[in-house]
């Protein structure tokens, strides 16, 4: 962006925390699940009871290695776990097991809209419990206190730390969006931001355009959607430029994004709160993935989003925007591909999937895997439009019904007598009736200029369509109308 004294450049790095899609927690056999009753997914290990010992979940390592293989990370010969020591009741052990100096993955990269974004490292750590602050005067009125639920304590996380390679809020969003698609395609994470399985912190600084020196960076926390990431980074970049333009300087600090106010604000900082005294976790031995294990992981890599988009564009003849929308949700892309496998043309399927079906998924919050209309049902609908049985607006109605209850499109067409009418005799009689009823309009059409004729014709066509209750074949109706108006 440009300040009064010339252009500035934003320098952004992101730390993305993703929850790994395992069955159990990182170091114990408790289920890794969302939405359970408080403190029902706990055991002596994740509660830090004396005598318990952590044992690493094999699947955590495999998921991290899969991510690493997909984005070209180097896997160091050994990596180790460390204790991050702090006193806070979200971790009953008073330390969090994390990777610090020797992470499992280093030096990856992700291509985002043609630009390569470097990823410095990705490391494993356990999630903390959830604290609920209860104020005086609340439901629990005896005293202000905090309640703790340890169901999340010990859930496996991977923290993905990008290099400061991003230059705008839009690019930061695009990076997270692509990262999310990759994680989903790999099955590494469910990437549901609303359930906290993907969290983002941003490091933001600004400098004079063309400068190679980094400005003072500010860390922003608490962005819980792609939208708030974009807004927060934009706001922070403007704030820093305004500071510099006013002759001030940026303070290195952590700021909190206030979603409602649309501003970042300094966080309360506690003295020495960052003295975590990391040291190697004595209860866990080093991790040293064998070449055989790495080979197995690499061989089993699925198609990545960028490759899938390219393939769908090529095979279906669709545009980049549609391909991006489809592949942005693995469930939707899988659904569309299954409909095409059932015989429907890709372009038509993509059209329905990026339109009505995606809207329905967004409104209801369900996955395409559980839609009442199976993919071959969508193929059936596409065929009904293709052979002229249904007009596009009618097909929309049919689809809406099939998304509400488990019915096949042919069944709905039969039940509601919706089949499109193409019979010329039947439609001709309807056109004649409409023209008689609107004789004045016909008169105006015949005597009018081009503009009037266009308007009157549109009106008459609409009346004809209405008279067929939307079932008239538009091409046939249009031709019959023109014949009579000529």
């Amino acid at each position: 962006m440009t300040g009064g004294s010339g252009p500035y450049e934003a320098v952004i790095g992101l730390e993305v925390h993703v929850e790994l899609a395992t069955v159990t927690k990182m170091f114990c056999g408790c289920p890794n699940a969302f939405g359970a009753e408080p403190n029902t997914l706990v055991c002596p290990t994740c509660l830090g009871l004396p005598g318990s010992l952590p044992v690493l979940n094999r699947a955590v390592v495999d998921l991290a290695l899969r991510f690493g293989a997909a984005l070209g990370f180097r896997v160091p010969e050994t990596s180790i776990f460390a204790r991050k020591n702090y006193f806070y009741p979200d971790m009953p052990k008073d330390y969090q097991i994390s990777q610090y100096e020797e992470p499992i993955l280093v030096d990856g990269r992700l291509e985002v809209d043609g630009a390569v974004v470097g990823i410095e490292r990705a490391h494993l750590e356990e999630d903390t419990g959830k604290i609920i602050h209860v104020g005086g005067g609340g439901r629990i009125h005896d005293a202000a206190c905090s309640l703790v639920d340890y169901n999340r304590a010990g859930v496996p996380l991977m923290e993905i730390v990008s290099r400061p390679d991003l230059r705008s809020a839009d690019q930061a969003r695009a990076y997270v969006s692509e990262l999310r698609a990759v994680l989903e395609a790999l099955g590494v994470s469910d990437v549901k931001m609303e359930e906290g399985s993907l969290r983002i912190d941003a490091n933001v600084s600004v400098r004079r355009a063309g400068s190679t020196v980094l400005g003072t960076k500010v860390e922003i926390k608490n962005m819980n959607s792609l939208r708030s990431l974009g807004r927060a980074v934009d706001h922070e970049v403007h704030r820093q430029v305004a500071l510099l333009e006013a002759g001030g300087s940026v303070t290195q600090e952590t700021r909190h994004w206030d979603e409602e106010g649309g501003v970042t604000q300094p966080m309360r900082t506690k003295e020495a709160s960052h003295d975590y005294r990391y040291f190697p976790e004595p209860d866990l031995v080093p991790l040293a993935p064998t070449p055989e294990r790495l080979g197995r992981v690499t061989a089993a890599l699925p198609e990545l989003p960028a490759a899938r988009r390219a393939r769908l564009r090529r095979e279906w003849g669709i545009g980049e925007a549609d391909a991006r929308t489809l592949v942005g949700r693995r469930d939707l892309a899988d659904y569309a591909e299954a409909a095409v496998a059932a015989g429907a043309p890709g372009a038509a399927v993509a059209n329905w999937c990026t339109g009505e079906i995606l809207s329905h998924l967004n409104e209801t919050g369900v996955s395409a895997e559980v839609l009442p209309l199976a993919p071959d049902g969508l193929a059936e609908l596409v065929a009904l439009v293709g052979d002229g049985t249904l007009s596009r607006p009618l097909a929309k109605d049919v689809l809406a019904e099939c998304l509400r209850e488990p019915k096949r499109p042919r069944q709905v067409v039969a039940e509601r007598g919706l089949a499109q009418v193409s019979d010329e005799e039947e439609l001709g009689a309807i056109v004649d009736e409409v023209l008689t009823r609107h004789a004045a309009e016909v008169e105006a059409y015949r005597g009018g200029d081009d503009k009037t004729r266009k308007r009157k014709r549109g009106f008459l066509m609409g009346e004809c369509m209405r008279a067929t209750r939307g079932r008239g074949n538009p091409q046939v109706l249009s031709r019959l109308l023109d014949e009579r108006l000529a």
């Binding site: 069955v23 159990t24 903390t128 909190h256 031995v285």
Partner: protein, 104 residues
């Protein structure tokens, strides 16, 4: 000659105590400073060893990749889990004194 560890200062001992949430009075500081200095001196004996060519290690055991399959194992019932809590709310939560700020 290997270096000896610098003796620890009373300020550093006070800092470490604060990090570990230990309430150490001023009158105790001198005693703990001397004790910790002795511990550090002892550790410094290691520096006298010839460790050229010895890789640093994070663990004394010659083990790698100790792990378990991703399978659910029974944990604690909630009443068992909460039995050890200093305080409980609604029979569902651990209750702790109110925490402010975003430490950690």
């Amino acid at each position: 000659m290997p270096e000896r560890a610098a003796p620890i200062t009373p300020e550093e001992v006070a800092h470490v105590a604060r990090l570990a949430r230990l309430a150490i009075g001023d009158e105790e500081l001198a005693g703990y400073t001397a004790d910790l200095a002795a511990v550090l001196d002892h550790a410094a004996d290691l520096a006298a060893l010839d460790l050229d060519g010895v890789e640093p290690t994070a663990h004394p055991l010659p083990l790698r990749n100790v792990d378990r399959p991703d399978e659910v194992r029974p944990g604690l019932r909630r009443d068992e889990a909460l039995a050890g809590a200093p305080d409980v709310a609604e029979n569902r939560y651990f209750r702790v004194p109110r925490i402010l700020g975003d430490e950690g």
